[in-house]
């Protein structure tokens, strides 16, 4: 990966340019409401409350916010993987309410999700290699741009990990395998739920560089959920701040982080770790 990052030549990615569908937003969500059932009382409660959001082709949008504020629910609804709730969702120009199962299946490879729990989202009975083989069999053409060893290299993993099973990988290694699997498909939208939360800063820097490069060369858009504000600022154009199901503030990262208007946003900024050490420098 470092080689590619240095030269800026993204392997074979550039030889597979995208057809220009770029004016259609990749994702549009209007007034989304998603309810879950309370395990105790059985009553419905709003996990996502009237959220709207738009991601253009090649754009990078972050959702940050309190734990339990509805970020994962929003991402799952928007990609048709979870309860869809009420409101309008258009994914790659198709309204999810109107789209058929077959159409949805056709859209699937264009939208790749890196889930919050990396170990839980890998099949425990499959080695890394056989997992990749399965993806390649589903989409032979789409995935032919890179071989397994090179793909793992892009996320700074050694090729000998190909024969490991998920439980034989460290947390950060499993997370990078999930990212690699998503990239293999060369999607138009990557939804990444805390994709670097288990990575130390030096590996994280490489993964972020890779995501930037993928964006630049394939025009893939990114919906990134993260609690790491520094990561968000270094990677995303726009940030939405969620609190208790609602977006309480949204805008370009520099504006939101530079002159936050909402109290919760200010609280988030004040709570960034490292104050004790930084204050001594």
């Amino acid at each position: 990966m470092s080689e590619a990052a240095e030269t800026g030549v993204p392997g074979d990615l550039a030889r597979h340019p995208r057809t220009p569908e770029s004016d259609t937003p990749v994702l549009e969500v209007d007034d989304l409401v998603v309810e879950h059932r309370d395990g105790g009382t059985g009553a419905l409660f709003r996990a996502v409350d009237q959220v709207s959001l738009r991601i253009g082709a090649g754009e990078s949008v972050a959702v940050v916010g309190e734990s339990g504020s509805g970020k994962t629910t929003l991402a799952m609804a928007a990609t048709g993987l979870g309860p869809r709730g009420r409101g309008d969702i258009r994914l790659l120009g198709h309204s999810l309410a109107a789209v058929s199962r077959t159409q949805l299946r056709r859209l699937r490879p264009e939208v790749q999700v890196v889930f919050q729990d990396p170990h839980g989202s890998l099949d425990p009975r499959q080695s890394v290699r056989s997992g990749l083989r399965e993806l390649r069999a589903l989409q032979p053409e789409r995935t032919s741009w890179i071989d397994d060893a090179d793909l793992l290299g892009r996320v700074r993993l050694a090729p000998d990990l190909l024969d490991r099973y998920p439980h034989q990988l460290s947390g950060g290694q499993a997370q990078r395998v999930c990212i690699a699997r998503a990239l293999l498909m060369r999607p138009r939208l990557i939804v990444a739920d805390e994709p670097t939360s288990g990575l130390d800063v030096s590996v994280q820097a490489d993964v972020l560089a890779l995501l930037r490069q993928i964006r630049a060369t394939t025009g893939a858009a990114l919906l990134m959920i993260s609690h790491d504000l520094a990561v968000v600022r270094s990677l995303c154009d726009v940030v939405h701040v969620m609190y208790r199901g609602r977006v309480v503030e949204a805008g370009p990262c520099d504006r939101v982080f530079g002159t936050p208007e909402n109290d919760y946003t200010r609280e988030l900024l004040a709570a960034m770790p490292g104050a004790r050490w930084r204050s001594r420098r």
Binding site: G39, S67, G68, D117, D160, Q173, D193, D200, R278
Partner: protein, 263 residues
């Protein structure tokens, strides 16, 4: 004998189809009562292996081949020896890196908390179980403990699951808590509150905490001491702020340099 946890010359190896792999190499580490020791280091450096060795939950193809682990002066691990069952859950509480390992997907949170409490607190009453369950979730800054108690893990957000996993590890008040990347799913405000709670538990109850994290800044806020791992070895350890102020190892300097700048 005031050390709560002592790792001496610990080496651990994994067997793989194509040979052996050293996961830990001659690791020395000590935690005293009332102390928080941070274990930091790059992905794959052996942090989780170290944490899991203390509770005897290594993978089947992984074994201790040199060195020892003692909890409160009692040797629990040596090559071919595993007496961790005697301390796991009672003297030592563990929060795993993937919350799915700490939680049983088939049981409601209430049942899981009740099980650990009944197993480790003799003659505990029903009312006391409920009281302590609610209390520990509230300590974890969960606003609606009632709903969470009545939920299955899959009905909870990632951060709620992680906080329930911490609750399960501390509800029986073990003398030593091992927490492996236990705040990665938390937003920074919640993380601050959970980390403050750890500090309070350590200061007030005099427990010891082994805090595994890849986040150097978080470690610098919370920990008394920091051990930096690389390639299965502890390459540097000492007072937390001293390690960060005067890193002796090139590797530690690189980690510090890679922290994304904010301004």
């Amino acid at each position: 004998m005031s050390a709560l946890l002592t790792l001496s010359g610990l080496s651990i190896t994994a067997r793989l189809a194509d040979g052996e792999l050293r996961l830990l190499d001659d690791v020395d580490l000590e935690i005293r009562r009332g102390q928080i020791v941070g274990v930091v280091g790059e992905s794959g450096s052996g942090k989780t292996t170290l944490a899991r060795a203390v509770v005897g939950l290594l993978d089947r193809n992984v074994r201790v081949d040199q060195g020892t682990i003692a909890v409160a002066g009692e040797q629990v691990v040596a090559p071919g020896v595993d007496r961790t069952g005697r301390v796991r859950g009672s003297a030592v509480g563990m929060v795993f890196q993937d919350a799915s390992r700490s939680l049983n997907p088939l049981l409601k949170v209430r049942t899981q908390l009740a099980e650990v409490l009944r197993r480790h607190v003799r003659d505990i009453t029903r009312a006391e179980v409920e009281r302590r369950s609610v209390e520990v979730l509230a300590q974890m800054r969960i606003d609606d403990p009632g709903r969470v108690l009545a939920s299955y893990p899959h009905q909870l957000s990632g951060g709620l699951r992680q906080r329930v996993a911490i609750g399960l590890a501390v509800v029986t008040r073990p003398a030593l808590v091992i927490a492996d990347e236990c705040t990665t799913a938390l937003d920074v405000t919640t993380q601050t509150k959970v980390v403050d709670l750890f500090r309070t538990l350590v200061d007030e109850l005099g427990i010891g905490l082994l805090f595994v994290t890849h986040d150097l800044m978080l470690a610098s806020d919370l920990c008394d001491r920091i051990a930096v791992m690389s390639g299965g070895r502890v390459v540097e350890q000492g007072d937390a702020l001293t390690v960060l102020d005067h890193p002796q190892q090139e590797y530690t300097r690189r980690l510090l340099a890679a922290i994304p700048s904010w301004s």
